[in-house]
């Protein structure tokens, strides 16, 4: 009989975000218990709980290091975010406008999609079933607006700006990880403060624009965590290579 494997993503997260000398034993314990319990929900609870516990333990045991990580992290983030807003975002808008418009015109030779393909399929699916008669007109307007060149350009601009935010996150996470021991815990601490700051700012100053803000926040935070993990993985690989030599 083959043994069921624990959820891959949870396993990966605990391997990379969990820290401390007992992380390997913890992974073994969870694998052993998972074979008995066979519950992915239990494994996820243990994984997330484990990441929180080890991160807090690292911060409590290395308070000055954590403080330094936050100061360095916020300085790097503030600098990179400023450059993105100053040079990146104003550059993205005209570029996407020109590129998308020229592509769009050469492809369709019209400024809006005709009611074919995906638009028609979605309309047939939703009309009269999901969308009630009262909202049908607004829904049709929305469907038609999706195909407009201005909206496609606006979407591409938003996607490019989000990509920029992700790059800022990866770079700042990588730099924080590069400059500190206990790198993943320090990066998680920095990412958490950025996330909390954005949520508090979003809820207190612009409660109406909260949904658009939420699009940037997870991308930025995930970018930071990814940067920290990339840095930690690279350092581990280098150490392994030097040991094998």
């Amino acid at each position: 009989m083959t043994q069921r494997q624990p959820p891959r993503l949870a396993l990966w997260m605990l391997k990379h975000f969990g820290s401390g000398p007992d992380n390997d034993a913890l992974l073994g314990d969870l694998a052993e218990q998972y074979a008995e319990k066979n519950s992915a929900w239990w494994y996820w609870r243990q994984t997330l709980g484990g990441i929180v516990v080890t991160t807090f333990k690292d911060i409590r045991n290395h308070k000055l290091l954590a403080l330094r990580a936050l100061i360095v992290g916020w300085f790097v983030f503030w600098f990179l975010w400023g450059r993105l807003m100053q040079y990146g975002v104003p550059f993205f808008q005209p570029v996407t406008q020109v590129v998308v418009e020229s592509l769009y015109k050469s492809l369709f030779a019209v400024r809006s999609l005709p009611e074919v393909g995906v638009v028609r399929a979605v309309r047939n699916l939703f009309e009269g079933r999901v969308v009630g008669p009262a909202n049908r007109f607004e829904f049709m307007l929305f469907l038609r607006s999706v195909g407009h060149v201005e909206n496609v350009a606006w979407f591409c601009y938003g996607a490019l700006a989000t990509l920029g935010a992700c790059v800022v996150g990866i770079l700042s996470g990588w730099i924080v990880g590069r400059l500190h021991r206990r790198k993943v815990s320090m990066v998680l601490a920095h990412g958490t403060t950025v996330l909390v700051n954005w949520i508090v700012l979003g809820l207190t100053t612009h409660p109406v624009v909260w949904p658009p803000l939420s699009w940037f926040v997870p991308v930025l935070t995930l970018g930071m965590v990814l940067g920290g993990v990339l840095c930690a993985s690279r350092r581990a690989t280098t150490r392994q290579q030097s040991l094998s030599v």
Binding site: P21, A25, L27, G28, D29, A31, A35, G49, V53, T54
Partner: protein, 111 residues
């Protein structure tokens, strides 16, 4: 006694679990023992974090054990309570018993 030297509730329960389990105390069995008596789910990582703290205080020591296929080839870490740990448990018990003595309304028979 300095503030940091008091045993916390979870620390005391962990030391008691180590005493009960003897030589077969590692992450899984310790968590199971705690769950059996507290009827609450235990995050195994919190067991390790607390044991690491107790180890730094010299109340617990650990050794690496065998690895098995169902653990993905990873070794178990066995924990043992030290003589200092046993002394701390006795002190905690004495202090708690003294505190309880004059509170008859909180004894199990009356609850």
């Amino acid at each position: 006694m300095r503030k940091g030297e008091y045993l916390g509730n979870f620390e005391l329960m962990l030391l008691l679990a180590l005493l009960r389990l003897g030589d077969c105390a590692y992450g899984v069995t310790i968590a199971q023992e705690l769950e059996k008596h507290t009827h609450r789910e235990v995050v195994i990582a919190s067991v390790y974090a607390t044991l690491e703290r107790l180890q730094e205080r010299g109340l617990v020591r650990s050794r690496l054990g065998e690895s098995t296929p169902e653990r993905g080839g990873r070794a178990k870490r066995y924990f043992h309570i030290t003589a200092d740990g046993i002394r701390e448990v006795r002190d905690a018990r004495r202090a708690l018993t003294n505190m309880w003595k004059h509170l008859p309304e909180l004894t199990e028979a009356n609850s």
